[in-house]
């Protein structure tokens, strides 16, 4: 059961990350701030493997940007494939949401 919970969380997390990045090109720690607000994750380290995986799957792309403090930063943006995937995810999320609330009535 613990793994099912983790899987659900992870799927939802990926959808949220994609929709945050879909709005604007964004830096990893700024993604984290939004996810923290939504109480989805607490530590930044969780985010890196997810971003790397989404990037390797062709959903995300990044560009290097100079930073005033420290090393250059990776700014993530969504690819066409990623937007398509996000639309599908959102649709199935809506469907799932509807089914779940119906079955729990």
């Amino acid at each position: 059961m613990a793994s099912m919970k983790a899987q659900m969380r992870k799927g939802i997390l990926e959808m949220c990350i994609l929709s945050i990045i879909a709005k604007e090109e964004i830096y990893t720690s700024d993604i984290l701030i939004k996810l923290k607000e939504a109480e989805l994750i607490v530590v930044e380290g969780t985010l890196y493997p997810l971003l790397t995986r989404l990037k390797n799957a062709g959903m995300l792309a990044y560009t290097w940007r100079e930073s005033n403090s420290g090393p250059p930063r990776k700014y993530f943006s969504i690819t066409d494939e990623g937007s398509e995937f996000l639309t599908e995810l959102k649709a199935s999320w809506k469907q799932l949401n509807k089914s779940v609330s119906k079955s729990m009535k």
Binding site: A6, R53, N56
Partner: protein, 216 residues
Amino acid sequence: MNDIKNINLGGVPFAIDMNAYYALEDYLTDIENHFSNANGAQEIVKDIESRIAEIFKERPDALEVVALKDVHEAIAVMGTPEDFGAESSDDEKYDDIPETEWIFGKKMMRDEENALIGGVCSGLSAYLGIDDPIWVRLGMAGLILGMGVGFGLYIILWVVMPAAKTASDRLAMRGDDINVENISKEMERGMETLTESMNKFGEKVTEFGDKFTKKG
């Protein structure tokens, strides 16, 4: 008194206290081990290193020597592998395994597709790697006729051996690798068998119909 070490973290040079250095090294080793099986492990570790360098740079006293408390603060932001919990590695491990490496052990299953009675003998011969089930059938028949134990054995095996219903079951029955290629081959073959038996059924129906009309 404390020694100081110069390090390069994410391309940025830092002077760091030795005790802070060891803490940071331990942490990065932990991270590396944690992600060692993940897809793009090196990139993940590099990203985390860069981010820690940035956190060090963002300190109000950025030019100061990095102290143990700075390392602890950075770790608090990034989180330890324990904090990542189930969100990270468990299924990423599988992402890295090519499909062909998904080898399951052979399973003893009944081969209903090639069955005479319950598919026990054809399943057994697939398990033993014998092409033609006739030999196992002969052996089984010998056991039944010769000593009488065969009948009981057959019934027990029939009950114990699950039927190979899906394409992957059939692959497991023969001990073939379960990968996309083999499964689709097996499914194609299954469709052919299905069409064949449909045709046979059709023939039988026509035969029956012929007989019926002749009688009538």
